[in-house]
């Protein structure tokens, strides 16, 4: 397949991905519990349909298996007014909030309340409550995640950049090995540098989209001491160093050889930095605490049908760009041969 084939399939997949990213709504969820100016307790929600079936709503406080109902009033689709009358005896002071509705299913907000006024009896049980089954009647939607909210759409942009970069750097690594194995200056060196350049491009976009995402979820453009941020930045710097090294040598045979050695050395250190290090460090990234990749719980089926095509689409687009650059190089070599 030539560069047009890769690019065409990649762009087709990405069109599908962007269409879904733009049109699929975010699922319902509870944002926060707050006291308003009159001292009343309000529940703020997102994407919910409280007003369409106010009589069938059920609100509970407690923890998973020990719940008690709360009195409430529906203000509008996204807002509830609570009138909590706390029991005299509680099994725990910090309580979760559960909202059940036939349309939105079961929604929960962890540690929504902290009650100081009750007597604490850890073994205490409440009167049994009547709980709906948790399913909802909503169409296709992206999952609601606390803190992340609508920015979950960035998943299709940010994460595939690193997959694509790794794929292209892997090509570069393999071509550098091939070059060192071969005796003469063949195409391997050109492939190694071209794929590294294309990969670097994806790495820079990955950093930019990551920084934007961090700003709106973690509250800052850059977070110190997150192992994956370190790793990503270092990757970009190392491959920039690779290009500087190539620019410093004029003799093409020597340049090919020493940059191939540097490329192998750099790739192995990157594997240490990006694959091994994050397992020993705390990270803000999803799937933290040992696993730098994705946690199975973070990706639900609605994300999968968009995320996997996005990964494949970006990788194919990257391949297309890489092939296009190779073709450009070989054409300019032909022009140089013809010119004198």
């Amino acid at each position: 397949m030539n560069h047009r084939g890769f690019t065409a399939v990649g762009v087709a997949l990405l069109l599908y991905v962007f269409a879904l990213v733009a049109w699929v709504p975010l699922g319902p969820g509870l944002v926060e519990v707050m006291a308003d100016e009159q001292g009343q307790t309000q529940v703020i929600a997102h994407g919910t349909h409280f007003a369409s079936s106010p009589d069938q709503l059920r609100i509970f406080a407690g923890t998973q298996d020990r719940l008690f109902p709360l009195a409430f009033e529906v203000v509008n689709d996204h807002r509830l007014l609570l009138r909590p009358e706390w029991p005299d005896t509680l099994h725990k002071r910090s309580l979760d909030l559960y909202v059940q509705s036939p349309i939105d299913g079961t929604l929960s907000l962890g540690n929504a309340f902290f009650v100081e006024s009750a007597v604490l009896v850890p073994t205490h049980r409440y009167a049994p409550v009547d709980v709906l089954d948790g399913s909802n009647q909503l169409g296709f939607h992206f999952p609601f995640q606390p803190q992340i909210f609508e920015t979950i759409r960035n998943l299709m942009l940010h994460v595939p950049m690193w997959f694509t970069m790794f794929f292209l750097m892997g090509i570069s690594f393999a071509q550098s090995i091939r070059h060192l194995g071969a005796k003469t200056l063949g195409l391997a060196d050109e492939r190694a540098v071209t794929s590294a350049q294309t990969g670097l491009f994806f790495g820079v976009i990955g950093l930019v989209t990551g920084s934007l995402w961090a700003r709106f979820t973690w509250g800052d453009w850059w977070v110190a001491s997150d192992p994956q941020l370190n790793g990503a930045l270092v990757t970009v710097l190392v491959y920039a160093g690779y290009l500087v090294l190539r620019a410093a040598v004029d003799d093409p045979v020597l340049r090919a050889r020493i940059s191939a050695v540097f490329n192998l050395f750099a790739f192995v250190l990157l594997i240490i930095l990006l694959m091994i290090f994050p397992r020993f460090n705390e990270s803000l990234h999803p799937g933290k605490g040992g696993n730098p990749g994705f946690n199975t719980y973070d990706l639900d089926s609605s994300l999968r049908v968009v995320f996997y095509p996005a990964v494949i689409g970006w990788i194919l687009l990257g391949m297309g760009m890489y092939r296009l650059r190779l073709r450009m190089e070989s054409l300019s070599r032909r022009i140089n041969r013809l010119e004198p």
């Binding site: 060192l180 160093g241 020597l254 020493i258 250190l269």
Partner: protein
């Protein structure tokens, strides 16, 4: 005349001896390194005073170690002149040359890390090194020094072959030493913030593994650079 066929430790020992002899004959190179290390420590001391907190103590000692290492490894050796290299390719195997250079740099780093540690203890005080932590930190400095030496030896060889100097080694090297720096600073931070050496020993082992792994990788890759 082709290069010798079999690997010989005698030639490695000779190369180390030779490098040492050349360095001592030049004199100013080694003295310059010691002076650089001492004056960096003194500059650090002037910037924080003699009651540095644990965090600044830790940050500064690793920064000084990194810059000392760069200064020691990235400078041009007398052996790196093209005509010398041309001659050496006929009388030694590349692996022997790389092993000799790495061993020499390890020895140099052992001395420099000890000097940095001694100067730090003298100027910035040992308030944070109670209960045998000094020995642990010293071990960490030596291991980090060896890991840096191995990494920078290969990069300096690449830069020398490219005909570029210190600048290129820094551009290639500073990102690549990040893994070493991360483990080393975490180790120092653990120690100085009150953990005992046994509690953070996995960082020390990690530093050792990095030093060993990088050395092995450099030895495997270097012969490809040397080929004509």
């Amino acid at each position: 005349m082709p290069a010798p066929r079999a690997f010989s430790f005698q030639r490695v020992a000779f190369l180390v001896q030779h490098t040492l002899r050349v360095e001592f004959r030049q004199g100013h190179a080694l003295i310059g390194l010691l002076l650089f290390a001492l004056s960096s420590v003194y500059a650090a001391f002037q910037s924080v005073g003699d009651d540095a907190g644990a965090e600044s103590w830790n940050a500064l000692i690793w920064i000084v170690l990194i810059f000392t290492a760069f200064n020691a490894m990235a400078r041009p050796h007398a052996d790196d002149r093209p005509e010398n290299r041309q001659y050496l390719t006929h009388i030694v195997r590349p692996l022997e040359w790389m092993l000799a250079r790495t061993l020499y740099h390890w020895a140099l780093m052992t001395v420099l890390a000890a000097l940095v540690f001694a100067a730090f203890s003298l100027f910035l005080g040992t308030d944070h090194l109670v209960g045998g932590r000094g020995w642990w930190l010293f071990a960490g400095l030596e291991l980090a020094g060896w890991a840096l030496a191995s990494c920078l030896t290969l990069l300096a060889a690449i830069a020398a072959l490219a005909g570029a100097g210190f600048g290129l080694t820094a551009v290639m090297g500073l990102p690549l030493i990040v893994p070493i720096v991360l483990v080393a600073t975490r180790f120092g931070n653990d120690l100085l913030s009150g953990l005992s050496g046994e509690e953070t020993v996995e960082n020390l082992l990690f530093l050792g593994a990095l030093a060993g792994g990088i050395t092995a990788f450099g030895l495997v890759l270097f012969p490809y650079l040397w080929r004509d």
